[in-house]
């Protein structure tokens, strides 16, 4: 089979289970394509030879009852992987190799998957274009010099370019859904507490959540089933009854009520996005679901709230990178000097900006006006959703206010960059699940995504709606392999 890498995860699993393909063949195919795709800069660390060894070992005694039997997979470099360098896209962790495995990745290996390597991302997941990575920009396979979105930009690029059959990212304010939208793939941000945060380099603890990024909704459902688990090692992990998301997946969403929030019609939204949204509404209707207009009145405040809460937590979470115990250290005259030099040289500009913002909003005299107020607004935003969910089962919005932009286009305008997250951020603040599915193309032929927001713990319903819409949309990603010489 020459086009192994073009197969979806579900097809690969079927072929391995039917013994039409070996794990070694599959792994080698993705390694080969990854080797030929270095120009995308999707990988920070390649673990290809170890992956092929593991695949061979799997084939010697294949356990085909596993959910991901011998499937190779690259993961975002924010997940700690035992004995494999984990950088979080930062110079400060450039020499860091964990002795432990994150719960989410462990769940994946337990089901038979094999690590291909670690995927590029914005530094400490802070960014919307993957341009803040210490390891350089990632190319969007859609077009040259186009950002793949961020922070899970290496992940979106790798799935869209078929360097890995599927992957996981993390989403603090849109870091799975926005890059999924920019690259024409599916990305799910689960309910807060669904996937363990243990072993994931923390950005903003109350918002961070790992989730699958896939070529289609079925694959996404399967990986979500694997990674979602209650974990005693994470105090914010929630012990609720998890579905067999893959097995229970259905495209029957007749009678479901889908809300359309008027506040998401933001000023200056491109007509293409407006049209896409309208098309989305039609698809939903086609599936037999009902459209209901709703209001989420505090939507306007979500972005400023997010840019207080997330940097506040980040400023504290990143305090441990001080050059004392592990990671990069710059020599200094004394302890304070060492701290200053280590953190000035070790962190990039965007991370430093957010540490500064976070430190400021937590400072005495400013705490009440910023952090405390932001927490109150956060509650109001959550209440908006609670109210809406009395009337609807899910909410449909665009994923992003635009398609992917060019590398360098927004680097000098952080606010314009932050505005990218305008539709995704409220979901994190409310702790809800959200999924982005590819829904069309803009005039340039770049993919555009639609977002479905669900009730807490209602990923099954969310996936079902996405699955039904996916069938109607019948999206085809336009990838030319331009980077392969």
């Amino acid at each position: 089979m020459s086009d192994i890498t073009k197969q979806s995860l579900s097809e690969l699993i079927k072929n391995i289970k039917d013994k039409k393909l070996s794990s070694t063949e599959v792994t080698k195919a993705f390694v080969e394509r990854s080797e030929k795709s270095k120009e995308l800069n999707a990988y920070v660390t390649e673990d290809f030879s170890a992956a092929i060894d593991k695949a061979k070992k799997f084939d010697e005694n294949p356990n085909l009852d596993l959910k991901l039997p011998g499937i190779p997979m690259a993961v975002k470099d924010l997940f700690c992987t035992k004995n494999v360098k984990t950088t979080a896209g930062s110079k400060i962790l450039n020499n860091f190799t964990p002795t432990y495995e994150s719960t989410v990745t462990q769940n994946i290996w337990n089901e038979g998957a094999i690590l291909l390597g670690k995927l590029n991302c914005d530094e400490f997941a802070m960014g919307s274009s993957n341009e803040t990575s210490f390891f350089g920009c990632v190319q969007n396979p859609i077009d040259k010099d186009l950002v793949p979105g961020g922070s899970s930009g290496g992940s979106s690029s790798a799935v869209a370019a078929q360097l890995t059959p599927i992957t996981i990212g993390t989403d603090t304010g849109g870091s799975i859904r926005q890059p999924a939208s920019f690259t024409g793939i599916v990305g799910l941000k689960p309910t807060y507490g669904s996937c363990s945060r243990y072993g994931i380099v923390a950005f903003a603890s109350s918002l961070d959540q790992a989730g699958p990024m896939a070529q289609n909704v079925r694959d996404c459902a399967l990986l979500h089933e694997v990674i979602s688990s209650y974990d005693e090692k994470d105090s914010t992990s929630i012990d609720f009854k998890r579905n067999n998301y893959f097995k229970e997946l259905t495209n029957n969403i007749k009678g479901k009520k889908i809300g359309i929030p008027k506040e998401y019609r933001v000023d200056g939204m491109p007509k293409e996005i407006e049209d896409l949204w309208k098309k989305g509404i039609d698809y939903v209707k086609d599936c037999g679901a009902e459209i209901i207009d709703i209001s989420l009145p505090h939507t306007n405040y979500a972005l400023p709230t997010y840019y207080i809460v997330a940097p506040a937590e980040a400023s504290s979470n990143l305090a441990r990178y001080d050059g004392v115990k592990y990671g990069f250290r710059a020599d200094g005259e004394n302890l304070i000097d060492m701290y200053e030099k280590t953190r000035s040289e070790g962190f990039g500009a965007e991370v430093q900006r957010r540490i500064m913002i976070g430190t400021y909003v937590l400072s005495s005299g400013y705490y009440d006006a910023y952090y405390l107020k932001a927490q109150k607004v956060r509650k109001l935003i959550k209440n908006d959703f609670d109210e809406a969910y009395k009337k609807v089962d899910a909410i449909l919005t665009p994923s992003t206010p635009s398609s992917a932009f060019k590398i360098g286009e927004k680097t000098n305008d952080p606010v314009s960059m932050y505005l990218n997250d305008i539709f995704t951020v409220p979901v994190n603040l409310a702790g809800l699940p959200g999924i982005s599915i590819p829904a069309g193309h803009d005039a340039k032929g770049y993919p555009l995504g639609l977002q479905i927001i669900g009730k807490a713990f209602d990923e099954q319903n969310l996936l079902n709606i996405a699955y039904a819409m996916e069938e109607k949309i019948n999206f085809k990603n336009k990838i030319t392999d331009w980077w392969i010489k």
Binding site: L93, A202, A204, K233, T236, E313, S316, A319, Y367
Partner: protein, 487 residues
């Protein structure tokens, strides 16, 4: 009750100053493992051998609360007659230091697990109540070691993450003596509860001492200085003494006191400025997003109440009422659980009055001399009980008993055996004593005649002679009776 007798005042010319003290005691929770990790808390291990991934703050590591430590804090709160908060919140206290791996300490700022309570002190002139402001749980930091290398500082993270209870008193203390009584009482309560071993040498109990002064009679508080991390009661007292006098001198000199953090130099016996209010850290406290608010049910608290043993105040009351002890004796005997247990074991089978005197007198003196704790006493409660019974039934005199006691201190021996082996049994056979007395009178005929002619003072001489001849074993009461008859 005369209040003035024990009042601690600093006199300068015409002015008298009162000292106002509040304590923040840091008590290490007795627990096998740390507050948010499963690492051991055992004291004295090789550096950095009791450090988990969480304690060293590796990327992606998350804290998980140790339920046992929560129980210990609640028990302590119950022991302090304090309000238990069913909902409390862990906050991050952010600051950079080499022995603080996370870059923040997890503590409780706005919503502590325990609210207001009180501690009763037994002072020489009566009881005094000291208010407890709050008790909260927090992590200890690691240890920076500066003196192993001329250029480098070494860091030992064994302590990093160990659970501490910070117990904050109200500014109710007025003298070094009250501070002494307060810390001892607090320690005693926690030892009874088994929530803190109170071992100050190992750093299990240390305190930040807040000191201010004001003119006697003033209702306003003066500006306070905080003396950080004092690790013995004696040093606390010395630091207060120095600091209060320093503040009074400044006021007398017309100067003002700066609110600041100070250090106590134990070698020079002085406090020195560490940092001023302006340089104070901005800790940027905020609720730790890795931890949910800590919620405990009424049921959880009620179950813990059932585990609370009889505490020193109640025990003291019982000892006074049931055993008719004086408040002084009771206070000493309940000061720690081991002592009161020892006492109660002794009196199971022997006289209370004698037991009290022997424990507070001879035993404490002997243990003190050998620098032993009551739990290390060479004399078991059972054997002391036997000794007391030998006195009570007249087998030995009180004087002989002291000799037997000395032998017992050399090793845990049965006093009966000592009495037998050394032939120390009291001679109480009237016939044998009569024979002895007859011989003494016979040997001292002249003195006997003088006695009969009215020199009654000589009676003591005869008693002494009889005791001497008997080798101290003659029953003194019988000797008196028989001598009176014979002479």
């Amino acid at each position: 009750m005369s209040k003035d007798k024990s009042e601690y005042l600093i006199n300068r010319k015409d002015n008298q100053y009162e000292v106002v003290i509040g304590l923040e005691v840091h008590a290490q929770v007795t627990s096998e493992s740390k507050l948010f990790s499963t690492s051991s808390t055992k004291f004295g291990a090789e550096p950095n051998t009791q450090v988990s991934l969480v304690d060293a703050a590796l990327p992606g590591m998350l804290p998980v609360i140790n339920e046992y430590c929560v129980k210990q804090a609640i028990k302590t709160g119950i022991g302090l007659k304090a309000k238990i908060n069913k909902r409390s919140v862990f906050d991050r206290k952010n600051y950079f230091y080499a022995d603080l791996p996370q870059g923040y300490q997890i503590s409780q700022f706005k919503d502590p697990i325990v609210g207001e309570g009180k501690v009763i002190l037994d002072m020489p002139d009566g009881q005094k109540e000291v208010g407890i402001e709050r008790l909260h749980l927090e992590q200890d930091a690691g240890k920076s070691i500066h003196d192993l290398d001329p250029k480098n500082t070494f860091v030992d993270l064994n302590r990093s993450g160990v659970a501490l209870m910070e117990i904050v008193s109200k500014p109710d203390l007025r003298s070094p003596d009250e501070v002494n009584a307060y810390v001892k009482k607090l320690r005693s309560i926690m030892r009874y509860l088994g929530t803190c071993d109170g071992n100050m040498q190992e750093g299990s109990l240390r305190a930040d001492v807040n000191v201010s002064v004001r003119k006697k009679g003033s209702k306003e508080f003066g500006t306070r200085c905080e003396i950080k991390n004092v690790n013995s009661i004696k040093f606390m007292q010395m630091a207060i003494e120095y600091e209060a006098n320093r503040q009074v001198d400044l006021i007398e000199d017309g100067q003002s006191i700066d609110q600041e953090t100070r250090l106590f130099d134990t070698k020079k016996n002085e406090t020195r400025s560490m940092r001023s209010k302006e340089d104070a850290h901005d800790y940027r406290y905020f609720p730790d997003p890795d931890l949910l608010p800590l919620e405990v049910s009424d049921d959880f608290i009620e179950k813990l109440k059932l585990e609370i043993p009889e505490l020193p105040d109640e025990k003291k009351k019982r000892f006074i009422e049931k055993f008719k002890l004086s408040p002084y004796e009771a206070t000493i005997l309940v000061s720690d659980n081991e002592t009161s247990n020892y006492f109660e074991n002794v009196i199971k089978k022997s006289d209370v009055k004698l037991a009290t005197n022997w424990i507070i007198g001879e035993l404490f003196a002997a243990l003190n001399e050998k620098n032993l704790e009551i739990t290390q006493s060479p004399i078991s409660a059972g054997n002391l009980s036997k000794l007391i019974n030998l006195i009570k039934d007249g087998t030995i005199s009180g004087k002989i008993a002291k000799t037997v006691f000395e032998h017992m201190m050399e090793g845990d021996k049965d006093p009966k055996k000592i009495v037998e082996e050394k032939g120390l049994k009291q001679e109480s056979d009237p016939k044998a004593l009569e024979a002895l007395i007859d011989k003494v009178i016979d040997d001292n005929r002249e003195k006997a005649t003088e006695y009969k002619s009215g020199k009654v003072k000589l009676f003591g001489f005869f008693v002494g002679q009889v005791m001497k001849v008997s080798g101290g074993k003659a029953n003194p009461q019988l000797v008196n009776e028989i001598l009176k008859k014979k002479l």
